[in-house]
Amino acid sequence: MKADATLDCIGLYCPLPIAHTAKKLKELEVGQVLEILADDEGIKEDMPAWCKTTGNELLGIEEDAGGYRVYVRKSRFDGRADLRE
């Protein structure tokens, strides 16, 4: 899958992948896709849940030997106003 930016969360546990994703997505434009690399299995459940809460679109999760590639499209980030700047 083609992404506009990549975020490396390899070796990181909850809540860091989610927190970093929220921060990174602020730098992207609506409609752009962020690729998140992670190896904590919790991401498989957490990222769909986070997308549901925030209104961003989960495009898919790919799994390989190194871990997971998660693709999120920025649709409507409902985060705090001061974080969006």
């Binding site: 860091l16 927190a19 986070w50 409902d78 001061d82």
Partner: protein
């Protein structure tokens, strides 16, 4: 845009493990676009006491209490297997091993994300400690009415 969801956490416990969980949830909620307030009361106040210097209080009983209950994030220990510091030291090592942030880093992260820290003035009064006992990151000093006013608007309220 829809009104932000509100999360309130009552941090009653002063132990390291419970504090880690509290800040973990706070950061997760803030990352999910929620408004988060943490109410520190009773032993929970120890987490947000400053690490440096001494804490002043009046009267022999309060002075003794605050000597034994000095507090500060760096002095917190595990609720289980503290083992005179060995267990807590080991847990911190294990966390470092897997790049898990220490309590102080989580606190800084939460603050950066706009999580509010509120200290309970009743406990401060009972224990005889003033505002100067706390880290400057504390947003306000208040009581149960403040907590309730926020909690009644929140969908998620936790007592830790």
């Amino acid at each position: 845009m829809a009104e932000k969801e509100r999360v309130t956490l009552i941090v009653f416990s002063g132990e390291l493990d419970k504090a880690l969980v509290a800040f973990n949830i706070a950061i997760g909620a803030a990352s999910s676009g929620m408004e988060v307030s943490m109410f520190f009361t009773f032993w929970g106040l120890n987490i947000i006491k400053r690490n440096e210097g001494s804490i002043h209080s009046k009267g022999i009983m309060r002075r003794m209490l605050n000597m034994m209950n000095r507090g500060g994030s760096k002095r917190t220990h595990l609720s289980k297997f503290h083992m005179m510091g060995l267990g807590t030291w080991m847990m911190k090592r294990l966390m470092k091993d897997v790049n898990s942030p220490q309590l102080e880093e989580l606190m800084a992260m939460a603050k950066e994300m706009g999580v509010k820290f509120i200290a309970c003035t009743t406990t401060m009064g009972i224990m005889g400690i003033g505002k100067d006992a706390f880290i400057p990151e504390v947003n306000s000093f208040a009581g149960v009415a403040t907590y309730l006013a926020e909690a009644r608007e929140g969908k998620i309220n936790l007592f830790i």
